[in-house]
Amino acid sequence: MINMFAYNIPFASIFLMMIAAIITPLLPNRNRLPEKLSCYLIGTVGVLSAYLLYTLTNSGQSLAFNFSMGHFPAPWGNELRAGPLEAVLALVFSVAMLLSLLGNFSSTQEDIAPARRNIFCVLVNLLMASLLALTYTNDLFTAYVFIEINTIAACSIVAVKEGAETVRAALRYLVMSLVGSGLVMIAICLLYDLTGHLLMQNMHGAIQVLVTTKSYIMPLTVSLALITVGLAIKSALYPFASWLPDAHGSSTNASSAILSGLVLKGHIFTIIKIFYRVFGLDVIHALRMDTVIFALGVIAMIMGSVHALRQKNVKRMIAWSSVAQVGYIFLGVGLNTTAGIAAACLHIIVHACVKPMLFTAAGGLSNSAGHKKGLHALMGTFYVNRWAGLGLIAGACSMMGVPAFAGFASKLRLMMASFDTPVVVWSLAALATSSVLNALYYVPAVIVILTHSKDAQKNFTVHPPTKLYNFSMCVFLILNFYLGLFCVPLLRLITRGVNVL
């Protein structure tokens, strides 16, 4: 049994962020106090999650534990569940969130009006709380409630930067997201009617009984399809991803980094939990949902990159690249094996570290080019802001899958996981094609920022990058290389986590 302190960490980290969100509107809006409070608390959550992870890996026999919220045990009250995978994800989410906020500390100040900054912090805290709750919850309805919080907060941090473009993007995002929420809600109602439970393990038992007795197969299939499509809309799986480039491309850099790196991942992890913990992989296979997810993932990998090729705005290009990367994750989920899901989780972590770095780097580069976002305007900016340039190059290498960078490790694991499945040819072909397509748009971007141009450098309004920016870029780069070079222990941890998920 793990110690009392670690036992309370999931509950404590969710409540810490909620209380931070609630108290922030009351704080005075001076000296950027709310933002500092958010950063400190997210850092605290990161430290707590790291401690939880350390305790869980050294605890010996039981790797996961349940935490009942209140005096009533699980099927009656709410419950949280924490294992190594949840702890790793909480740690990665808090680190990526902290670095996105720190790296864009000055660009947030430029983009967001002073009256709105307080509320921006409220929304960031709520997003963090909802991500933690989605990670830890063991109850489908609790997951739905926090999906709602996540949706509203995510749409609002798109609109936090004033302007017609962001409001339009936020509205589009809101409409698409609400369609997703509606589908998830209907599916949860259907599942409750069929199983009589909202607790994930109990639902799993009831669904196993339904499938073995071959009763209610059709409603079960429909509810699985609805919940998958609903969450796929929110996590921007390709045919449902039309909202993503607007929302991620037009908002302020911190919002883009948080949305792309973290918010999508919360929903994807919820899908993984529903597949693994609620339905079970054999039922998913029997209902053919794995094939659908796999096919959509392959299409997303190709189409996201094809769309990214056509972009001239660097942030929109990176946003479309997110669509392709989400496709990789769903490819792993669609393999429908423990190894596939572990590889998908590794890719979640890799993308959560790399994509905020890319957005922060692109923001820094376009800042040194005088707030121009067009790809051609960035010519030679590497020599103005070297940390940002390095970040973009490292991120690009990672997305292309160059060895020693983070993306290589997860793509390799995806390939290795697909060897045990009948769809190995498809997944290898898709991974190869998508890597080439990634290179087709990332390499020109890297060449552009590395090209010397005397004319362009005169126009640069040089805001020297702050120390915080350089620090967070530095940490991002270290994380990138760490994930690329030493991911084996992490993968072992994830596999253990998936086994007790």
Binding site: G70, I119, I149, G163
Partner: protein, 333 residues
């Protein structure tokens, strides 16, 4: 008689369609032929042998009909999608276990404990209140936080930007780097269509507002004893505020319920919820003794935390609903 009737009908028809009788001396200019908005160049009149290429014809055709075609296809596909989804969902619902049947999967040990022991374990006579505010209080905390999130977001998008641009129009405000935040024009202030001297509305409102407020308070405070609770009582309370705003003007309500009061009350209520329930979760999960008394069932001061939590939820709901109304209709609170 017949002629008169027809006359009246014509007048009525014209009134409905909005085209009154046309004056006799009006000269209607002949409509110009529809111009092609984006076509590259007009075809040369004098080139006798000019024949539009297939591509040109296609572009012209697309300019003339493209939008129409798109809207037809779009609405057709939407209808088709709706029909497919509706029939799929109806087929699914038809397959579900029959409603209210005794042996349904939903009639299991979970429900049994709620119904049989709910009163004893939570101290609440209203089982629903005990269910949402004690057994599954974490979900309800999330729901209140959803309302809080939505209210704060609307306040940010509609409230903060408007106040900013109002301030900017008086003295252009720029930040230290010289960037101006108000990229829009002067603020548009919507005058609420409101008769300030509507004696009937004001009379009825001054009679009914106390009753509505009382009703709302009763529903909130008796939430653990009778049907109702924070969500429904808060909605009733907010109708009193909305009625007051409509009868006496938003300025009067603004005197005692403005943006600052709203933020302070919502945050405080949610904070009380979070701290008290956090204590209860903590003691429950760690099997510690909780100092919160259950009281005797049926008393007004019973059911542990449910009464204060209902009041908190009621405050949040009332503030949020009124806030939405004020922000969307007036743009300010």
């Amino acid at each position: 008689m017949n002629e008169e009737l027809r006359n009246i009908w014509t007048q009525f028809f014209n009134w409905v369609m909005g085209n009154g009788p046309r004056p006799e001396n009006e000269v209607i200019p002949p409509e110009p032929p529809p111009a092609l908005p984006f076509s590259q160049k007009p075809t040369d009149k004098f080139s006798r042998f000019h024949e539009a290429t297939l591509k040109e014809r296609y572009t012209q055709w697309l300019e003339l009909h493209g939008l129409h075609l798109f809207s037809v296809i779009y609405s057709g596909l939407s209808v088709l999608t709706c029909i497919v989804i509706v029939s799929l969902l109806l087929a699914t619902v038809a397959e579900l276990p029959p409603f209210g049947h005794e042996r349904n999967p939903a009639n299991n040990e979970v429900i049994r404990r709620y119904v049989q022991h709910g009163g004893r374990e939570t101290g609440a006579q209203n089982i629903v209140a005990g269910l949402i505010l004690d057994y599954r209080a974490f979900d309800t905390f999330g729901e209140s936080a959803v309302l809080f999130t939505a209210a704060v977001s609307v306040l940010m998008i509609l409230g903060a930007s408007r106040r900013n641009s109002l301030k900017d129009s008086q003295n252009p405000h720029t930040d230290p780097e010289g960037r101006n935040f108000s990229q829009r024009g002067p603020p548009v202030i919507r005058h609420h269509l409101l008769r300030k001297d509507d004696a009937i509305l004001q009379g009825v409102a001054s009679l009914s507002i106390p009753v509505i407020l009382m009703m709302g308070c009763v529903v909130v405070i008796n939430g653990h004893l009778s049907p109702g609770g924070g969500f429904s009582g808060g909605a009733i309370l907010s109708t009193a505020l909305i009625l007051a705003a409509n009868a006496f003007g938003f300025e009067r309500v603004h005197n005692f319920f403005n943006e600052r009061t709203f933020i302070v009350s919502s945050s405080t209520a949610l904070m009380i919820y979070a701290l008290s329930k956090g204590y209860s979760f903590f003691t429950g999960a760690n099997h510690l003794h909780s100092i919160i008394p259950k009281g005797t069932i049926g008393d007004i001061l019973s059911a542990g935390l449910i009464l204060p939590l209902n009041i908190c939820v009621g405050l949040i709901v009332a503030g949020t609903l009124y806030g939405f109304y004020a922000l969307f209709s007036e743009g300010d609170m």
